[in-house]
Amino acid sequence: MSSRALLLRSWRATRSSPRAVTPLLTGSARRWGSSISQRPGSDRVLFPGAVNSKFTTEMSFLKGSDLPAIPTYRVIDSDGELVDKSRGPPDVSDEEVLTWYKNMLTVSIMDVVMFEAQRQGRLSFYMVSAGEEGIAVGSAAALTPDDVVFAQYREAAVFQQRGFTLKNFMGQLFANCNDTGKGRNMPVHYGQNYPRMHTISSPLATQIPQAAGAAYALKMQDLQDPNRERRIVACYFGEGAASEGDFHAALNIAATRSCPVVFICRNNGFAISTPTLEQYRGDGIASRGVGYGIDTIRVDGNDVFAVNEAMKEARRRALSDGGRPVLIEAMSYRVSHHSTSDDSFAYRARVEVEDWKRRDNPIIRLRKWLENKGLWNEDLEQETRDSMRKAVLKEFSEAEREKKPPLREAFTDVYEELTEEAKAQMKELKRILETYPDEYDLRPYKDGAKGLD
């Protein structure tokens, strides 16, 4: 600590001239102008740390549980009916809602197939998002293609909604030549250049402060180029990840640096086996946002319209007043096991899961809405499910047979440029392959022996 204080002091010494700080880089210009002093006889405290707090002679400790719980925003109920009939229907075209529904359905069908494939040993790992497709699709639908996403690992539907194809998914899962990650990352750790979705990182919560940083970068870039469309960062994580220090660091830095980022917490009730009751105390993740001075809302994650509307408003707020962070806590229930490494019936009742599955999940709820509006029926459902399943299986078997990435990718990207050692190794490998062509079957690799060039 003391060394940090020293550093701070020397840093302060170097910025003796206020001009050294460009106004562009500070949230509030003229920081030195806001000097505070306690006035005699004032009825409120004016210390730097609390500028408008009234003095009181009553000693009372605040207790979160005495306060009403933060309400949960919803648009439609579990029967697919508008809750507040006095408001108009959601401002979305039928066509778009059908796309949402199909995207949710595609991911849920892919999940079933791939979970089974993992059980058969055809890939090492998989994670499904059953019960949480609504949060992903509803929020991603409120983004523009230029917005940037940092996801955790249960956001396949965000990728689906933003144009990731079955071929992209399968290419990554089977580490073939269609994998933009070149076979280097664990299954479900997708990534895409445009619309930009940063490659998933396994260690929990690392993406949250990074999202604040990326949002800060977008803000700077947009300030330098006032004609371009304003962009935000959307950052996804679970309520378990919100226990990591990174979450708290991220909210604080995003708030103090006014970063245009929307944090979306999927509160699905479980972090692997740990239920929320043992994960945190207090009123959910939303209450944390309020504490950090961040605009916060809690929504019904099974209601795709509520998520979408909240995200649209969050995006607007994130871009107002030069940028600020927003927190959305979307409530849901993790119907699935945590991952293929988990059997959740060891720590929760099967009947509880079945209940949620049957009674209320985002897909069933949206289906009811669509049926109520006459946009969907059982025949369409069967037909769509069949064709989706076929499409998934087709891409699956093609991906298994697809060529592997070219040989050079075994050496590239450890650094921006190939090291001398790697170059020498590639040359040596090429020599061996050319000297003993019959010893090595290069047909499974894209471009065969030429893949080293």
Binding site: S124, N185, S201, L204, I272, Q279, V414
Partner: protein, 372 residues
């Protein structure tokens, strides 16, 4: 400890030729007794997972200052089931589930150790301990020294280390060299079931912070366990290596899962080339059993270090440096290292296999070294 030149066990070994002083007599004897590979009778096949479980249960039973905490350790029986049944047996005060806050629960464990308890802190994998490495190193390892010796830190950090199957760069790192370089920490790395039980128990009993680097790929593997090792008083000394296979032509020094690979490679070397490789299971990374390595090297004249860490600044690099410092005149060929590749671990199976030493890598490098 291996670090300061003056105290290096190997330097004592060299000087012992000049003096009549016996070499750490008490320690050596007790070590031999404790290692006892007893009778054939009563030998039982035990998996590494069960051996670890047994060690934890015995220590929780015999020392009420111990408790275990970590993510999923209680209700779920541990992510890899190492803590199976412990919650039922010892209750929620001794077996504690934590929120997903590595920095939080590691800090809590270090604090409990500084206050006099003997916590056993489980990481779901050592990869996740990077979130709390400041607590392990800056507080766990150093407070005893910085407090002038008034604050003990009897803590055990444990969990799976190194690569597993298909879990890629962020889940496949070997931390032996990282923790092995820190003064104040002791570091052990078991291979077999007896290693696992004896070293974990030693770690829990040791008054210092001890890092136990297990291996996920070994958890399900069964090893014969001697009658002595099945008893609750079985402890292995920290700082003592074990010669798993005697030989006269080549010394292979290895640790953790690579010990098994080295043994298989040694068998193949014997069968193919008729050479006898001696395989040393390090067991302990810090302190490092330099005597055993140098004594073997003097006998064989050739040294190879096998590990799954990165090639540079690793355990193998340290062993080669030590062999140069203490056994240079006995080497008949330059010592070699067989290590993981200089690349973040890739996911694709073919690439993953090429990133770590395989048995044929060890055999071919040994054949090259032996010029056979």
């Amino acid at each position: 400890m291996a670090a300061p030149r003056l105290f290096r066990p190997a330097s004592r070994l060299l000087s012992s030729r000049l003096t009549t002083l016996p070499l750490r007599p008490a320690f050596a004897q007790s070590a031999l007794r404790a290692r006892g590979y007893a009778t054939e009778g009563g030998v039982k096949e035990v998996t590494v997972r069960d051996a670890l479980n047994e060690a934890l249960a015995e220590e929780l039973e015999s020392n009420e200052k111990t408790f275990i905490l970590g993510e999923e350790v209680a209700q779920y029986n541990g992510a890899y089931k190492v803590t199976r049944g412990l919650l039922d047996r010892f209750g929620p005060k001794r077996v504690i589930d934590t929120p997903i806050t590595e920095a939080g629960f590691t800090g809590l464990a270090v604090g409990a150790a500084l206050a006099g308890l003997h916590p056993i802190c489980e990481f779901m994998t050592w990869n996740f301990a990077m979130q709390s490495i400041d607590q392990i190193i800056n507080s766990g390892a150093k407070t005893h020294y910085m407090s002038g010796g008034i604050q003990p830190c009897n803590i055990t950090f444990r969990g799976p280390n190194g690569f597993a199957a298909g879990v890629a760069a962020q889940h496949s790192q070997d931390y032996s060299a990282w923790y092995g370089s820190i003064p104040g920490l002791k570091v052990v790395s078991p291979w077999s079931s007896e290693d696992a039980k004896g070293l974990l128990k030693a770690a829990i009993r040791d008054p210092n912070p001890v890092v136990v680097l297990e291996n996920e790929l070994m958890y399900g593997q069964a090893f014969p366990m001697s009658e002595a090792a099945q008893k609750s008083d079985f402890v292995l000394p920290i700082g003592k290596a074990k010669i798993e296979r005697p030989g006269k032509d080549l010394t292979i020094v290895s640790l953790s899962r690579c010990v098994g690979q080295s043994l298989n490679a040694a068998a193949e070397l014997k069968q193919k080339y008729g050479v006898e490789a001696e395989v040393i299971n390090l067991r302990s990374i810090k302190p490092l059993d330099v005597e055993t390595i140098i004594a073997s090297l003097k006998k064989t004249g050739r040294l190879m270090a096998v590990e799954s860490g990165y090639p540079m600044f690793g355990v193998a690099s340290e062993i080669l440096a030590l062999s140069m410092e203490y056994g240079f005149d006995y080497l008949t060929a330059p010592a070699v290292r067989v290590t993981g590749a200089e690349v973040p671990t890739p996911y694709a199976l073919g690439l993953e296999n090429m990133s770590f030493p395989q048995e044929d890598t060890i055999v071919s490098q040994a054949a090259k070294l032996l010029r056979v």
